[in-house]
Assembly symmetry: C2
Amino acid sequence: MEGNTGNKREETSSEKDLLILKPEEIEKESFRRIDRELKEKGITLQGPEADVIRRVIHTTADFDYADTMRFSEGAVEHLQELLKQGTLIVTDTNMAKAGINKKKLERTGGEVRCFMAEPDVALEAKERGVTRAHVSMERAAALGRPVIFAVGNAPTALLSILELTGKNGFRPAFIIGVPVGFVNVEYAKERILETDLPYIVNAGRKGGSNVAAAIVNAVLGQIGTE
Amino acid sequence: MEGNTGNKREETSSEKDLLILKPEEIEKESFRRIDRELKEKGITLQGPEADVIRRVIHTTADFDYADTMRFSEGAVEHLQELLKQGTLIVTDTNMAKAGINKKKLERTGGEVRCFMAEPDVALEAKERGVTRAHVSMERAAALGRPVIFAVGNAPTALLSILELTGKNGFRPAFIIGVPVGFVNVEYAKERILETDLPYIVNAGRKGGSNVAAAIVNAVLGQIGTE
């Protein structure tokens, strides 16, 4: 289990001095280091997307996201508008739900829900022989109101959203498609990229509930500062 | 924002056939692919640690963890025993708390708590000019019972645990130290590695609430199958 212990360039004997920094100063310094490392890698991020990608890198310490995140045209501005309007966010894990900044969400009158852990969802999924993710997305679609889907775990959630789109007039208001994994994940993300739906997707296998939450929080932060 | 869209080797036109797989079959197939890719990379994981590392890779799709995870001697066996005894788990985020498998935890009579979001914690932290993480760890230490600390976010939480160790007879039962970030994170993890406390740490900048939860779930899974 030996090997790389990570980038040491920033870790000096004076590192301890930073321990007195306030959380907001720590965050500023973190983004300064992210930007410097992006520059060192020759990566230039622009537009409102840059903010989202930087937040995801901050959440994962993984610079791969600078190469793999995909945005539909005007995606971030569109998500800003939806969040300003307090549009419901539906996640595919309680972890993503827990990770979304509730204080920022309250300011917009927004709400986040997750149907996955509801007992009758598990029951219905078992009875019908479908995934809990599928039943959860069905329930979100059946609400008859605009929904921002934040999918950080289940590729089947993304495929269910596509399957439901167009039925009974359902159309997702926005799709954050960042499931993580080794089976069906790339396939499901590619299906989203083929649509004309507004999306933020991380191509490839990486993603997660933490990434889904970070994307929402980044855009909430953008409208919070206006 | 162009670039690598991830490993395509596993993504074939027959990929869609996998969509009929049951979740447990998807997981099996995922671990098969992880093991094959580890083999391709010339990485051999052994012992109960292997199980934990594979679960973290499954959660992040990031093979860096195969090189950077660190375990104190007998760490996994020790954590198994603590979890069997239903030892309290204290996290530094509600996200990590949400990510821990409650069904598996119930079997052991275990419990997970997070003090971070409690309003009076924020108030006390503000009044004292310390971090919420510090106040949260103090409260966990003051419980006067064994605590497994699962830290996926705040390096200051790790440093606070060390600062509290030895005071009023407090000693952490176990430390899962996987905060993520660019400031203080590597420093705080290295401090844990210097101790004789039982730990699982991911060296370097990477980690997260999802990783902390994955480590707990991996070990809960080990004792669940006994």
